[in-house]
Amino acid sequence: MTGAPAASTSTSKGAAVSVEGLGKLFHPPGNTRDLLRGRLFRDPVRALEDVTFDVAPGEVVCMMGPNGAGKSTLARILGGLLLPTSGRATIAGHDAAAGAPALRRSVSFVVGDERSFHYGVSGRENLRYFAALHGLDVATGRRRADELLDRVGLAAAADRRYREYSRGMRQRLAVARGLLGEPEVLLLDEPTLGLDPVGARDLRAFLRDETIRAAGRTALVCSNDPAEARALADRVLFLQNGRLIREVAPAHIEKELGL
């Protein structure tokens, strides 16, 4: 890749997402052979190193990079699901490492993993269950689930079992779940992963126009798809081997990637 210098956007007060010197080191447990050699752990794996950037309120930033670059690790730290080894991240002023309910009300982690729902019940039942985990009472949870199913175009399929949903429907249901708590910040990890081109285009349009822009939300999108970055982002940051190496405008992604 060529082009702009390494990105290390200084953090500022008032940012919706603020990441300062974030690092993450994993210590994979050793196998039997390692244990026999007196080693409990294998060599550490550095997933993130000194990552610093800001996302302003209402801004959409796409975090790009090859597989294993550290995008999902970063998203999980910001969602309070993983603790960083060094540095600090805040979302809407809440420390991500504390992982408190207040943080998880401000941010919603939408992962393109279709295993994250209960297969044996309908999309509607799934959303009602997650609505209760957001603290909503039965009537509000029911109303909110119905509204969101309608917004993501799943009203007609709301009572079909999740296991009967297509991949695109599952992604849409994941987006609906991410909006249950009306979060300020959306973390979207590979939101159109595995979708056909038309399905991906439609879902991106929905995310951009109805989920992010119309509501004035801040979003951090982790992806390695240039089309996704171009369709959704105001800025694109590149991660490689856990380090933030550059920042580019969405219009120049292909040039940066040498495509």
Partner: protein, 281 residues
């Protein structure tokens, strides 16, 4: 975006989560009618098997059963019910974690604002509830279908003992759930503990048949005291003071196991956030 609505109190929130969990389980179960029918059939076979086994054992006078009024069917029924409660305690939480890890739902659930204890606590409470209903059905079936007699039941002792029984088993469950998260394997502690308890606590035979040193070892297990208390309450009408030794032992188990188990579980949860193993299986 609308302003953030205030969060409900922890108790209200837990009740909402509990209700939603139970609803989802029941809806899910109704979709698997064959599995449901199989469970009912298994339950009926177990009751009938227990009756014939008790008839076989009661056919000859047994001095070890004298302390229980010779009521081997009641003795056996309470042994199995207490074992089921212990199994729920030992495995309810760890099974919930394993199943959510394998299904992939754990991370999504923990990403909601609900505290981890609430997300994970719904399943054991649900399982204790369904287990209590199953136990009641078991006793009802044994009473009305095959003539189980429990004429001496001391209700006060039952009321006093149930919270202590549940507390001791919940403490054990927190320990085993922590170990499941740490080793990411099916509950190794529960398997060992369950087998030892079956052997030493007197589930299908009175502990009086065991040698003294094994009886002494059995006193280190909560199930031994649970059986003393419940059999005393249901079979011989024992008052709380008559089984006070075992009630005190259960109180000590609860006082030690709940804080220690909660600390172990909290440590395991933190480890999972450090090494990223919430979704590993």
């Amino acid at each position: 975006m609308t302003p953030a609505r205030p969060l409900p109190s922890a108790l209200v929130w837990f009740v909402r989560a509990m209700r939603a969990f139970a609803r989802r389980e029941l809806v899910s179960m109704s979709g698997y009618r064959a599995a449901f029918a199989t469970r009912v059939a298994g339950f009926l076979f177990a009751v009938v098997g227990m009756v014939y086994f008790s008839r076989f054992v009661s056919a000859t006078a047994n001095p070890h059963m004298a302390a229980y009024g010779g009521n081997y069917l009641g003795f056996l029924a309470i042994g199995f019910l207490a074992t089921e409660l212990q199994t729920v305690g030992l495995q309810g939480l760890s099974r919930r974690i394993r199943s959510a890890q394998i299904m992939g739902t754990l991370e999504a659930e923990l990403a909601t604002p609900a505290p981890a204890w609430m997300v994970l606590g719904t399943a054991p409470v649900y399982e204790f509830g369904t287990s209590a209903l199953r136990s009641a059905a078991y006793l009802w079936a044994a009473t009305w279908i095959v003539g189980l007699q429990l004429p001496n039941t001391n209700v006060l002792t039952v009321i006093v003992s149930v919270p202590l029984v549940l507390a001791a088993f919940i403490g054990l469950g927190l320990f085993t759930a922590g170990s499941t998260m740490l080793v990411r394997r099916t509950n190794p502690v529960a398997v060992v503990f369950g087998s030892l308890s079956f052997f030493l606590s007197g589930v299908i035979y009175p502990v009086s048949v065991l040698p003294a040193w094994l009886r002494a070892a059995g006193h280190l297990l909560p199930l031994t005291h649970v059986l003393v208390v419940l059999r005393g309450a249901f079979l011989t009408g024992a008052s709380p003071s008559a089984v006070s030794g075992s009630l005190a032992a259960l109180a000590i188990f609860a006082a030690v196991l709940i804080p220690a188990g909660a600390a172990t579980f909290a440590y395991a949860l933190r480890r999972a956030r450090v090494d990223g193993s919430l979704t590993h299986y």
